[in-house]
């Protein structure tokens, strides 16, 4: 095994081009487990800890450009206002020790359907900035996950950052596990309200071969909210609408039975999380509306 230690992003890209089989390591919370357990013996380890750009973030007008190695702890501490869904998701990652090392780039690189960040990224809307010596491209998050632990990266590409849409409304994240720390999600759900475009977006984790959106549920809810004038009148969501939304979210799942849970439990739990997160986000939207109206 060779340990490659590029001091800059350019050097990292050159190293990846020269050794396409090199396994990038940043927080190490996935890669080191595989090495410790002898599940993987990469020919080259490509250490990204010395590439300072990867640990930086930038809050722009519409998006946050989040460096691939920004640890979850920093997201929780610094980006809760701009990325509330991802901040909540980050807080459910493992333990403080793991959150101090792991970041969204690793979640995307591993592309496990159980990665905690995915539902939040899908719900908020994001693009993954990847680069190689050949150039840069932005991959829409919906096109990034291509299979179980597979993503749209080419062999010579590295994940540089994620461009995540800044929240324009309430966001929620919910995860089912056996306790509040150190759990791989049995299943997870992210929901974002986008009042500016009068749309909602969802993200489901651990309940299909890849992280997925519940598109039929989104379309149903978009239409129901529009039809009932909910965005303007700020009424509470009709229970039948919430119920139908939850059922459509369950229907978007394509889960398996495994040690963490059965397929039917996952479908059920995603429905429950969908209904709850809809209630939480909508109540928060109504509260914010009342507040603005009161001030006017």
């Amino acid at each position: 095994m060779d340990f490659l230690r590029p001091a800059s992003w350019e050097e990292a890209l050159a190293a990846k081009a020269e050794h396409p089989t090199a396994v990038p390591i940043a927080g190490g919370t996935d890669v080191m487990v595989e090495i410790n357990f002898d599940h993987r013996r990469p020919e080259y380890l490509l250490d990204l800890n010395r590439v300072a750009d990867l640990t930086e973030w930038e809050v722009g007008e519409d998006t946050v450009r989040l460096g691939a190695s920004v640890p979850y702890t920093k997201i929780m501490e610094n980006l809760r206002a701009e990325l509330p869904g991802l901040a909540l998701a980050s807080h459910t990652v493992a333990s403080p020790q793991i959150r101090n090392r792991g970041g969204v780039g690793g979640n995307l690189g591993t592309a496990s359907p159980a990665g905690d960040a995915h539902p939040a990224l899908l719900a908020a809307g994001a693009e993954v900035e990847v680069e190689s010596v050949r150039g840069t491209r932005l991959i829409p998050i919906d096109a990034f996950y291509t299979g179980v632990k597979r993503n749209a990266l080419a062999a010579d590409e590295l994940i540089k950052s994620v461009h995540i849409k800044k929240a324009d409304g309430p966001q929620q994240y919910s995860k089912v596990g056996t306790r509040n720390a150190m759990v791989i999600a049995v299943c997870a759900f992210g929901l974002a309200l986008h009042p500016e475009t009068r749309t909602v977006r969802t993200g489901i984790g651990s309940a299909a071969p890849t992280p997925v959106r519940a598109k039929a549920a989104e379309e149903f809810l978009n239409a129901a909210l529009e039809e009932g004038g909910f965005w303007d009148n700020g009424k509470i969501i009709t229970p039948s609408v919430a119920k139908q939304f939850a059922e459509l979210c369950s229907g978007a799942c394509n889960p398996i039975d495994d040690v963490r849970g059965t397929a039917s439990y996952r479908r059920h739990a995603v429905g429950v999380m969908a209904r709850r997160t809809l209630t939480w986000t909508w109540e928060s939207y109504r509260g914010a509306r009342r507040h603005t109206e009161g001030a006017a």
Partner: protein
């Protein structure tokens, strides 16, 4: 490969390090510092917790090559680290001192006669050590929390220690120990 880094305030050099080796292995097997414990090797149990540039991490998940030029504090250096924090000096712990470190002194039950970090003394006084395997990781994690949160709520303590498993105590005495250390820290100021 060779790895140069700072351990407990002193520069160290580890030779013949395998590229896939963890920081934990280097500390235990190459530098002779067995305080950080090796249990799950997958970041679940927290018994290998050390400070890397001040930040608590599982040393089993840090590749040795990643610590080149960086700063590590292990449980063996915790007493000096805490002392330096309170008096503002930084003298470090030599490798031999660290290797020879024992929580013994004149009385192993009370910690009397030896230099302990306040969190270590609190663990002894509260009876938070049973088999002791998880203790080093808990000490490093708890000490770091008290450094930036001197008045933690019970929820804060539970969250800060949520990455450290203990199979003996049921955590109650550990909670007591951290509360005790926080209270003593408050009195001292």
């Amino acid at each position: 490969m060779r790895v140069n880094f700072t351990v407990n305030g002193r520069p160290q050099e580890a030779d013949d390090v395998w590229e896939g080796e963890s920081l934990l292995y280097v500390l235990r097997e190459r530098l002779g510092l067995p305080g950080s414990k090796n249990a799950c090797e997958q970041g679940e149990c927290g018994s290998c917790t050390v400070r890397l540039d001040g930040v608590p991490v599982c040393s089993c998940l840090v590749a040795a090559g990643q610590v080149e030029g960086r700063d590590v504090v292990t449980v063996e250096g915790l007493a000096d680290y805490a002392k330096a924090r309170s008096c503002g000096t930084s003298c470090g712990t030599s490798l031999d001192e660290a290797k020879g470190w024992q929580a013994r002194g004149t009385d192993s039950q009370t910690g009397e006669g030896t230099e302990l970090a306040p969190i270590q003394q609190a663990f002894i006084d509260a009876g938070a050590v049973q088999c002791g395997f998880c203790t080093p990781g808990l000490l490093v994690a708890a000490d770091e929390m008290l450094e930036h949160n001197p008045n933690p709520t019970d929820a804060d303590i539970r969250e800060a220690l949520s990455g450290n498993l203990c199979r003996c105590t049921g955590y109650e005495k550990i909670m007591d120990a951290v509360r005790l250390a926080a209270a003593r820290q408050g009195e001292a100021v």
